[in-house]
Symmetry: C2
Subunit: 203 residues, 2 copies
DNA sequence: TCAGGGCCGTGACAAATGTCACGATCGACA
DNA sequence: TGTCGATCGTGACATTTGTCACGGCCCTGA
């Protein structure tokens, strides 16, 4: 039996995944989480063989959880599941120690198979996404530029961003300007969108 | 047996829901769709009793599908399922003729029960969401203001919005300004965010 | 019939935004 | 050791954005 941990913030999806995977005779769900920040603790208690982690979760995002889980319980492999096939997500998930990366667009039948492959020590990655990920290049933003873009995500003004990050307004404008340049955008809002779509704004 | 149609663009979620609802002895999934614009045709072929529609779908959004489905096959009740509990979604779904509205945060066990209630002619609505929906008031934006905000969603400049909508730049600025006022925002980007969160930018 | 509202446009203005040039410090790295 | 890049700041400037006042057209409801 492969022991499974499931983490997804949408109760309906989580429950449905339980039903789906519960149909497989060789899989057993031993734990469920709806927040990222309880996964490691739960894993230490229940000792799963494979953890299915969503990226978008309250508390802590799935990629950060991946890194911590790999450190705390190396015997547990991680399969990351996500709604959005952002190139940066895949790259960072693999760098964090994930064994597989699956988008929610993939047929349901392949999920159990992916779990088995991951448990088997193989890597599982959507080939199309892998290609896109390679093509999109690395995150060109510096840490500060990411911070400023993240703070600008909700339509915040320069003054508010500066106050939130304890920077001068001029500095914020400089970072925004260089972020706009690096993302090949033509306005702050477009830069935010491009960075989001590439998965460059996590953590 | 209650005959079910399922529409959700994420194959994994759709498959998982099939597994979940397939466990219920009185439910039978007779059709699946991954695009909004094929649902009506599919429903006319398979004659389901209840349709489970996601709001966010390619082709046609679930609320537009609801209206068309109600017209084409009045015997089929609609239960709308969505990731985002936007107040405006609920209001528009009910106005379009949906019998129920469920967010993906609700426990999986309640889904089958919701399907039965809807099939029974009852209405199913998350009470918390209903309250929020009433509190948030109606969409204050005029059709044109919504158009302009929608066009501004991706960080587009005034000149580009004007070109896309065949308007003068001054007019676009006026609409943006009044939309900013009506949403109580302080910039275009914030107005876009507020309108999105309230579900005012559909269709 | 008239008032009101949505729609479309113009022009002018203040404020915010984006760009550039210029320093300065610091750590990493060859 | 020197160089490079990231970080933080200043000041000046052009452009864009947001606001306001005004005009006109059309439709709807009182």
């Amino acid at each position: 039996m492969i022991r499974l941990l499931l983490a997804d913030d949408q109760a309906l999806v989580r429950g449905a995944l339980v039903a789906l995977l519960g149909l497989e005779p060789d899989l057993e769900i031993v734990a469920e989480a709806e927040r990222g920040d309880v996964v490691v603790e739960l894993a230490l208690e229940t000792r799963p063989d494979v953890a299915l982690l969503d990226v978008e979760m309250p508390g802590r995002d799935g990629i950060a959880v991946t890194a911590q889980l790999r450190a705390a319980l190396p015997s547990c492999r991680v399969l990351v599941v996500t709604t959005f096939g952002r190139p940066g997500y895949l790259k960072r998930a693999m760098a964090a120690g994930a064994s597989g990366f699956v988008v929610k667009d993939t047929p349901a039948r392949q999920l159990a198979e992916a779990v088995r492959r991951v448990h088997d020590g193989q890597r599982v990655v959507d080939p199309a996404l892998a290609a896109e990920s390679l093509a999109s290049g690395d995150n060109p933003l510096s840490a500060r530029e990411s911070d400023v873009l993240r703070a600008a995500q909700r339509g915040t003004s320069v003054a508010e961003i500066a106050a939130a990050l304890f920077l001068s307004e001029g500095t914020v404008r400089n970072y925004l300007s260089s972020a706009i340049g690096k993302t090949a955008a033509r306005s702050r809002a477009e830069a935010v969108r491009i960075a989001e779509e590439n998965g460059w704004l996590l953590s």
